[in-house]
């Protein structure tokens, strides 16, 4: 209405079109779209690698790939999913939604924003090109432990530099988000009125700034050990391979909270919307997120309980690790309390959000078990760990991403997505993902180690079941692409508010919002009325 008219009058200069538009855009909506499309492509590349893994593991014996290639598939699958799919997806959501949620016209640093994105296709070209090199892609695990990773051939410098570039992209994005939220909130949008998605992203951004430089340090030390005669991780030279693990996991543990915190924010937006009831315990949710982030810095060695740490170290990390269950539990209880005495409907975003709460909690239970050091001596480096992190990352992070995509697709495109197809995608995904990963708990308990291309025959049946689940899950994701493409092209017209129970500044804008929104800040009264 008047917003669009003002936009039209102030429109200055030409926006380039076609390739140049996407290459040079500094618009948060465009950049959000770029991140999201990039992450979707990476999701399918990482997924294809997973299909190769599950295909080989379908039966005992080696039928399709040799062990070296199998190891490079597990390595690359993880690197692509973590750094190429999940992290850019969260950044895409942040770019699209945060300025609108706080009543700002764009991000604080729009040109930096453009570069943050365009680093990624370059980084992944470097990384993925190693698959085609002599010697093949890196095969020492995404965790890159020395001395093994130093046996990587031609791919080694490509791996290191790809990690550096991905890290730089994340740090720049994090700086942008913090600068935006702290400086560009509309008047009346106090910190304790921010949607939880913004809060969890602020905290994620601080985690990124603190942890990614540590990863950069660790991989640089690998580089100098390989090429410049240092011996950081070689006992013969006076160094220690375990030191790498400490440094890596000091990054690695905050990293997993970077992967999940924005998911908590999305679920905290979706459940109240479809329950038509305010989020229970808003301040507790903020404090719990901050507590999780703080604790995430003092638990890292639970990834390395079997290295031979002193008893005091093993005890300390056991206590801090199990302690994270407390604030995480608080969040789960608050979501359930939001559902209690509410008035729920079960559109696709809500289905994914509810599945997230149940299945992420199951991942949390196996996480608690893994955190108890003496028993971890049995679970470590088995399929029990693989089951745990896939529950928290797939039925956790990925499901929350799906939920958020369905939730905001109508806002982004101006069209309602096909609800029937969405529900089909949900049910196929949820059933198959459990067939895929739940048996892996049993495999780990029964004694199957991780990162092996072939296994003893007593592990056959659960592996077969898991692989079948994997094939169905992989195929089901094609449905998601169909839903997205169909929604972009057309569909029922979406209103501004889209969902009956939706509250927040983004739902006061038209669907789709203008290219530049909130050029003038919203009326503080809207903020007061829009938040509970």
């Amino acid at each position: 209405m008047s917003e669009a008219a003002i936009h039209h009058d102030e429109h200055h200069g030409h926006h380039p079109s076609g390739m140049m538009r996407w290459l040079t855009t500094t618009n948060h909506k465009d950049i959000g779209t770029l991140y999201l499309l990039f992450s979707l492509v990476m999701f399918f590349i990482g997924g294809a690698m997973a299909m190769i893994i599950r295909l080989e593991l379908f039966q005992p014996g080696l039928q399709f790939v040799d062990p070296q290639f199998f190891n490079s598939m597990t390595t690359m699958h993880a690197l692509v999913m973590i750094f190429g799919a999940v992290m850019p997806a969260w950044t895409g959501f942040a770019n699209w939604m945060i300025p609108m949620m706080i009543g700002a016209p764009d991000m604080a640093l729009p040109r930096l924003n453009n570069w943050s994105f365009w680093i990624l296709p370059f980084a992944f070209t470097l990384l993925l090109s190693t698959v085609f090199m002599p010697g093949g892609a890196p095969a020492g695990g995404w965790t890159m432990y020395p001395p093994l990773v130093l046996q990587t051939g031609m791919a080694f410098p490509f791996l290191i530099f790809a990690v550096h570039f991905m890290g730089a992209s994340s740090i720049a994005g994090a700086i942008n988000i913090i600068a935006t939220v702290f400086n560009m909130r509309a008047p009346g949008m106090t910190l304790m009125k921010l949607p939880l998605f913004v809060w969890t992203w602020i905290i994620t951004a601080f985690l990124l700034i603190a942890s990614i430089p540590v990863l950069a340090g660790a991989v640089t030390m690998l580089l100098t050990d390989k090429f410049f005669g240092t011996a950081f991780f070689s006992a013969a030279g006076g160094g220690d391979p375990v030191m790498f693990q400490h440094i890596f996991w000091f990054f690695g543990h905050p990293e997993v909270y970077i992967l999940i915190l924005p998911a908590f924010g999305i679920v905290s937006a979706i459940v109240p919307t479809f329950a038509r009831k305010p989020l229970f315990g808003y301040s507790s949710m903020v404090y719990a997120s901050a507590a999780i982030a703080f604790l995430s810095f003092i638990v890292w060695a639970h990834h390395m309980f079997t290295v031979g740490m002193p008893l005091a170290g093993e005890l300390f990390f056991m206590y801090t690790t199990v302690l994270i269950a407390v604030p995480t539990g608080v969040k789960v209880f608050n979501w359930v309390a939001t559902m209690w005495q509410s008035s729920m409907t079960f559109e696709t975003p809500m289905l994914f959000a509810i599945a997230f709460i149940v299945l992420f909690t199951i991942g949390g239970f196996s996480g608690l078990m893994l955190g108890v050091t003496p028993v971890d001596f049995q679970y470590h480096d088995t399929y029990f760990v693989v089951a745990h992190f896939h529950y928290v990352l797939v039925t956790g992070a990925i499901f929350a991403l799906m939920a958020g995509a369905y939730f905001w697709l109508p806002k982004w495109t101006g069209h309602m997505y096909d609800e029937k197809l969405g529900q089909l995608h949900f049910w196929l995904s949820t059933i198959s993902v459990n067939v895929l990963f739940f048996p892996q708990h049993f495999l780990g308990l029964a004694g199957m180690p991780r990162r092996i291309p072939d296994y003893a025959v007593q592990f056959t049946d659960f592996n077969m079941v898991s692989s079948l689940g994997g094939f169905v899950f992989g195929l089901s994701q094609i449905l998601f692409v169909v839903v997205v493409v169909k929604c972009i092209k057309g569909g029922a017209k979406a209103t501004d508010q889209v969902w009956e129970g939706a509250h927040g500044l983004e739902w006061t804008l038209p669907s789709p919002p203008p290219y530049h929104s909130f050029n003038t800040p919203p009326d503080p009264a809207t903020i007061e009325g829009g938040m509970r």
Binding site: P60, G61, L62, Q63, P67, G140, G141, Y145, P147, L148, A235, P241, K277, P278, T306, V307, G308, L311, E314, M318, V322, G329, V330, V332, V336, T338, M339, W340, S342, S343, M344, I354, I357, V358, I362, F365, M369, V372, T373, P374, V375, F377, Q378, D381, F442, L445, A446, G447, P449, R450, R451, P453, D454, Y455, A456, V457, Q458, T460, F462, R532
Partner: protein
């Protein structure tokens, strides 16, 4: 055992393996749980595992039960009206403190178990385990015996890409080696683990633990095996292309049989040490004889 015509070592070992392997045998195809194992530590760990599993199960039933109830009862389609309350300090404190207490309850037995595992003192014997790409080396420090332990030939043949050999036709596929790690029962065995190239990990589930084998460093662990039998495990740290093909087989024997085995191994080691000395002399004689012709 009157059918044993020749009480030679090999036959003895085969008989023992055949008749006493039950506690450590391969698990059923649909095995759901952690094995109870055959050491005091593995029993402790199994009990702790079950305790935590039950706690998680009960919490899960309560939380998911409440969710299921909400989904059924508080639906808009059934006419439910949403309440608008959205905070309660009492409830927040309660569901912060109760989980905290549960965690303390878990940490107490866990701390005891960890102290038990790390107490390597007063051991009866020491075995040094060295991981290589892709095999294990075992050194009996007190007995002066040492040998490599590599994936058994039938398994190695079957596991090759497109070998055409059905893994189900191979005994203990991928879990058999050429030389078992033979140990006595009821003795506290100290295991020193290290490696010669990259990081490996030595794991036998029946013993209840695994420990990383790190080049240039030595880790200490212990086990007292209470039942004779054959216990199988695998390398548990990614170590390169054949990480999945360097298994571990521990054969626990009663005291007397173990002592007999040690004697045989010592004799074989002595023979191997003397033999190379004979060879060069023979070769020189042969050369001389050939030149004389």
């Amino acid at each position: 055992m009157t059918f044993l015509r020749n009480p030679g070592v090999l036959t003895k070992l085969a008989a023992i393996t055949a008749f006493s392997g039950l506690p450590g045998m391969a698990f059923a195809d649909w095995e759901l749980n952690l094995p109870r194992g055959v050491t005091p530590y593995s029993h402790t760990v199994y009990d702790l595992h079950m305790l935590i599993l039950w706690i998680c199960t009960i919490i899960g039933i309560v939380v998911f039960g409440l969710m299921l109830y909400s989904i059924i009862k508080f639906r808009k389609s059934q006419g439910a009206q949403a309440a608008q309350w959205h905070e309660s300090t009492t409830v927040e404190v309660a569901w912060t403190l109760v989980p905290f207490v549960i965690l303390v309850a878990i940490s107490v037995p866990a701390t005891k178990a960890l102290i038990m595992m790390e107490d390597v003192s007063n051991s009866d014997m020491t075995i040094k385990v060295t991981g290589y790409q892709w095999k294990w080396h075992y050194q009996y420090i007190d007995e002066g015996i040492g040998f490599f332990s590599t994936l058994a030939a039938p398994s190695n043949a079957a596991r090759q890409l497109n070998s055409g050999i059905d893994p189900n036709s191979v005994d203990n596929y991928l879990l058999e080696v050429d030389n078992h790690l033979v140990v006595p029962i009821n003795k506290k065995i100290r295991f020193l683990t290290t490696a010669g190239d990259v990081i490996h990990a030595w794991w036998v589930p029946a013993l209840g633990w695994k420990r990383d084998a790190i080049p240039g460093y030595i880790n200490e662990s212990w086990a007292t095996i209470e039942e004779p039998g054959v216990y199988r495990g695998q390398c548990a740290e990614l170590c390169g292309k054949d990480h999945g093909f360097m298994p571990i087989v521990v054969e626990a024997l009663p005291e007397a049989e173990y002592a007999a085995w040690v004697e045989t191994m010592r004799a074989a080691t002595q023979q191997a040490e003397q033999a190379p000395l004979a060879a060069p002399a023979d070769a020189a004689l042969e050369l001389a004889a050939a030149e004389a012709r």
